[in-house]
């Protein structure tokens, strides 16, 4: 499956934080021929391992992209069989009104629509305010007794959206954050096919990023790589937002620079991109990047960490929009970067003294 098709289908797979099994399965199915082993760890991280091709043990590099998407969960089955919900990850409740969803029951999936008190029954004051998540409900169009029989408190609800091609190689859909980056890992592994690398590669689909970057830190702890690269999405250009907070869609991989990023990894990524004619953009950060890079950098005695992002508009909605070209270029850049890794580079990463 080519990368674009892979991303379109993967974005449609349901996989909320804490239950990424379906995404993991899809990922393993489509990458197992590209790696030496594909395993799932105790909390659901998918670890795709590609052994280095050198004579001696090479450095270890981990590339990580989170598999989870933001979802809802049933909190209560209300009178009439309407479902009251909580969020798992951060939605803007304004974007939820009127959305189609899928409720994942124990024995089957049910299509639902998100409703709220209709506007003509709301007061003028109410209509001026955002409807809070608390007041929304999911309607599965079944009588209460049927709902009670097939849906339970704790069941997951995902956004229902078919991925759409737009103009200019752009795609729109749900969960492009962060299946786009998972796709980039797949593209990277494809790009490495038949190539020589000293480094052992751990491509990891991480869990539970949206609720606090959890899987990446535990996976990094278990693997303890010499170099870790997080791959995630960042905000695409949007009218009215300061220029340093957004990046151009279709402008190529976005390289993060700042205190949470190892300077030598940033520089190496930039050099490699230049060598291979990959256009990149630079994002400056002043601390937290709010990605898996943050926790990974301080795992155990510390890991040299980098961050590559894909520009995306309308983050955390059902119409997240990006350019597939960017995704593909990120995959290529990762592969070329990995090919460049050797022990000398890795040893330099802990060397801050110029004596």
């Amino acid at each position: 499956m080519d990368g674009k098709e892979f991303l379109m289908r993967l974005s449609e797979v349901p996989g909320g934080s804490g239950d990424e099994r379906n995404v993991g399965k899809f990922l393993i199915e489509h990458t197992k021929n590209l790696v030496d082993s594909a395993t799932v760890d105790a909390i659901g991280n998918v670890v795709l391992f590609r052994q280095g091709t050198g004579q001696i043990n090479g450095p270890k590099v981990m590339i990580a992209a989170h598999m989870d998407e933001i979802t809802l969960m049933v909190q209560k089955i209300d009178q009439g069989g309407f479902l009251r919900v909580v969020q798992v990850g951060g939605f803007d409740p304004r974007t939820l009104l009127g959305q189609e969803v899928v409720v994942h029951g124990q024995t089957g999936n049910y299509v639902g629509v998100i409703g709220a008190k209709p506007p003509h029954l709301s007061t003028p004051e109410e209509r001026k305010k955002t409807v809070p998540l608390q007041d929304l409900f999911v309607d599965v169009a079944m009588p209460e007794t049927m709902v009670q029989a097939c849906i339970q408190v704790g069941d997951r609800i995902t956004i229902r959206r078919t991925c759409m091609p737009l103009l200019n190689e752009r795609l729109a859909g749900k969960a492009m954050d962060n299946r786009a980056s998972v796709t980039a890992l797949m593209v990277c592994l494809q790009e490495l096919q038949g190539k020589h690398t000293q480094a052992d590669v751990y491509a990891v689909g991480t869990v539970q990023e949206e609720i606090g970057s959890k899987g990446a830190q535990t996976a990094a702890f278990a693997i303890m790589p010499d170099v870790a690269i997080a791959v995630d999405v960042c905000h695409g250009e949007t009218p009215g937002v300061a220029s340093d907070l957004v990046q151009e869609i279709g402008g190529g991989p976005v390289l993060s620079f700042g205190p949470n990023i190892h300077p030598k990894i940033f520089t190496r990524l930039k050099e490699i991109a230049k060598q291979h004619g990959i256009a990149v953009q630079v994002e400056v950060t002043q601390g937290a990047t709010w990605t898996d890079a943050d926790p990974m950098q301080i795992v155990q005695a510390g890991i040299a960490t980098g961050l590559i992002s894909i520009a995306l508009r309308y983050m955390h909605t059902s119409v997240e929009t990006l350019s597939y070209d960017d995704v593909h270029q990120v995959g290529k850049l990762l592969a070329r970067f990995i090919e460049s890794l050797d022990h000398a580079f890795v040893e330099g990463l802990t060397c801050y003294l110029n004596n």
Binding site: A242, D244, P259, N260, G287, Q297, A301, L349, L353
Partner: protein, 346 residues
């Protein structure tokens, strides 16, 4: 002079190179082993084969600072803070920009040009800019790039009654205490860690503690001090010239009672003045260190610092000296078996 050099060195979080090089130069003759980790924390080891509990002493090298995030067509530069800064204090201050340390001034629309309502509100970050004198974006870019850092241009100076002011006593004063300490000899395995990225979430200290896995840890910090007018006694976290402050509870740590008790007893016995840090706000590297691995017995000894996170911070040099004395006294007491830490108590 050590405090002057240390506080005038440039060291934003993640960009601590100047400070690290300075400390390295100063510490190297006394060190048994020197290295850095992947984040840039500088480790100085002494007597690692000695018996007795291994003590980790830390101070962070980084200071609150700024990053250039955009250059306007006019050559004026947009910036954002690295670490916590009260934006209200920024207007009409002077900064040093980039590797070359160019002067820059933080400006805004002149008060004459502001509407009455505008004048009543503090200036927000998007109303402020750094001006290095460039006449165009192109000219600015010859000197400064997006991602370059800036720090307050304040110089070190001794003022008043045995006090001093500088831009970065938080936490170069801690670095200075450590440097004074590592020049002395103790019959203990000691690791001095000059940590990074404290101001953006206590990030360097945890890997440092994980790596060194000490029996005891002592953090030297410049801490909040608010002993000015209009502050009731219970709002005065610490007071200048009352000696180093010992933390009981802060935002990230509840002190290890026995170790804290021990330190205060040592101070009493040695007639070194000390005070309790009387606020639960703020945090220091102990917050990260004491939760590392199975838990590490840790304590903070802080030097009260007025106007912390502002361009001119003020400390008492007597407090500084007392902190140096207290650290020595505590290490001597540990050396003599005065504080025993049994990691697994039945």
């Amino acid at each position: 002079m050590l405090l002057k050099q240390l506080t005038e060195a440039v060291g934003p979080s993640g960009f601590e190179t100047q400070v690290r090089n300075l400390i390295y130069k100063e510490a190297n003759p006394f060190a048994q082993n020197v290295y850095t980790d992947s984040l840039g924390t500088l480790f100085i080891e002494k007597n690692m084969t000695a018996k007795g509990p291994k003590v980790l002493l830390t101070a962070h090298m980084d200071e609150v600072s700024f990053m250039i995030v955009g250059i306007e067509e006019t050559g004026l530069m947009r910036f954002r803070p690295i670490g916590g800064v009260d934006v209200r204090i920024l207007v009409s201050k002077v900064v040093l920009v980039g590797d070359k340390g160019l002067y820059g001034v933080i400006g805004s629309k002149a008060v004459h040009l502001q509407k009455k309502e505008e004048r009543e509100h503090p200036l927000e970050l998007d109303q402020l800019f750094i001006d290095i004198g460039a006449s165009s974006k192109q000219e600015a870019e010859e000197h400064v790039a997006v991602g370059d850092i800036a720090v307050f241009a304040t110089t070190y100076e001794e003022i008043g009654d045995e006090c001093a002011k500088s831009k970065s006593f938080d936490d170069r004063v801690g670095c200075a205490v450590l440097l004074e300490t590592l020049k002395k000899d103790f019959a203990l395995p000691l690791v001095f860690a000059f940590t990074v990225q404290e101001e953006i979430g206590l990030r360097g200290a945890a890997p440092a503690a994980y790596r060194t896995n000490p029996d005891l840890a002592i953090v030297l910090e410049g801490t909040v001090c608010s002993d000015g007018p209009d502050t009731p006694s219970h709002g005065q976290a610490t007071q200048v010239d009352r000696g180093p402050a010992l933390s009981v509870v802060d935002a990230k740590t509840i002190a290890h009672r026995d170790f804290l008790q021990h330190i205060s007893q040592v101070a009493k016995d040695a007639h070194i003045p000390y005070q309790w840090r009387r606020t639960i706000g703020g945090a220091n590297d102990v917050g990260a260190i004491h939760l590392t691995r199975e838990g590490i017995v840790s304590a903070a000894i802080s030097i009260p610092t007025r106007y912390i996170h502002a361009p001119s911070q003020v400390i008492s040099l007597r407090d500084y000296k007392h902190a140096v004395d207290l650290v020595e006294a505590v290490l001597r007491s540990i050396e003599q078996g005065g504080f025993v830490n049994d990691k697994n108590m039945v």
